[in-house]
Symmetry: C2
């Protein structure tokens, strides 16, 4: 396996995995590359290349063994090692994402949620909730490595520098701000402005043609 | 101009526009396709094709006229018409996105925010805040057309059907749930699970090699 898989491959492996989890309790179940391709909206050649990269070979007649494929994806995406995660300013959405991982990916462990203002309770759905002023202290105590950040633009930079100096090495950023981080920190940017403008565009088209 | 632009073109036009807004007050300013391409991480051929699709032609020596380009993009993305938008369960992030549009895109007008539990105030940063139980009433009264939805999975489907029956025709969905909507409603899905798993993957790689 290459030391570092291509970005698109990593995204698709995560998507294949989520689909395959639905079939994991079937005995001797197989799936064809073109079926996986259709579900994640790519082509079968991409699927076969992705799976070749993680050392998976299919049977020409039967396709890919689903349980073997799940193990290989877990290995490739490093799910034997738990990542402690914190949500910063994510509101209600955090609950939903935490519940998903609790059921489907124990390697992603949400250990803290931070809110602006007074926490509604000390623990919500099993996850401790803190005021944002506790950020540095809690990240250090709970060894948080990855933060999902959804905060007003004016706070994004300052909070990022607190996270990084406290040991965070991965940030998924929803705030419409470019974060400046040291080279060892991986930032994944979620461009909500573009997505919202795109939704408005296609929505108006539907209305016009509908 | 084609009646419906390709998805990627719409995304890139939104991104070009955001960059160009920084230069809009320069007189007679021009930009080359390869510079736009570098900033939005695509290639110059894509930029030229996108701009050709919206009827924009560049000067071989000088590049594209920035103010003309901004007008053409505004026209192509239909920004002469205001879209009333509501945020449902977005927490602190909503403020940040609303502030961005207030400054940079008056066609995207955030008219309401909905929270679970008691609203912190009647109006926050100029936007009225309501409890989620008011969803149907407020959408109808304020003619909301587009909702950004970030709610726990167990509520996503029910709230979606309320939105659609109240007149919403566009949904940007952050919840990890596939929404079922009628054909005239455009749903844009933001796959937070995949992005989070991807961040964790590249983060671990950085650590390993760092």
């Amino acid at each position: 396996m290459p030391d570092r898989l291509p970005e698109k491959t990593v995204e698709r492996l995560s998507q294949y995995r989520r689909i395959l989890l639905n079939y994991q309790f079937l005995e001797h179940a197989f799936i064809y590359s073109h079926n996986l391709a259709r579900i994640v909206k790519t082509n079968a050649a991409n699927v076969r290349r992705d799976l070749m990269l993680i050392g998976m070979s299919g049977d020409f007649h039967k396709g890919y063994d689903i349980n073997e494929l799940l193990s290989k994806i877990n290995l490739a995406l490093n799910y034997e090692r738990v990542t402690p995660i914190a949500f910063v300013g994510m509101g209600e959405l955090g609950r939903s994402v935490a519940a998903h991982f609790g059921q489907h990916n124990p390697a992603m462990q949400i250990v803290a949620t931070f809110v602006f203002g007074k926490p509604p309770a000390e623990i919500v759905d099993g996850i401790p909730v803190y005021n944002i002023s506790q950020l540095q202290k809690v990240i250090k105590e709970t060894s948080v490595e990855l933060c999902v950040v959804a905060v007003p633009a004016e706070f994004a930079r300052e909070l990022t520098s607190i996270m990084v100096s406290s040991g965070v090495t991965g940030i998924l950023n929803f705030s419409p701000v470019q974060l400046q981080v040291p080279a060892w920190v991986h930032v994944e940017q979620f461009d909500i402005i573009t997505k919202l403008e795109k939704t408005a565009y296609f929505m108006k088209r539907s209305q016009k043609n509908g």
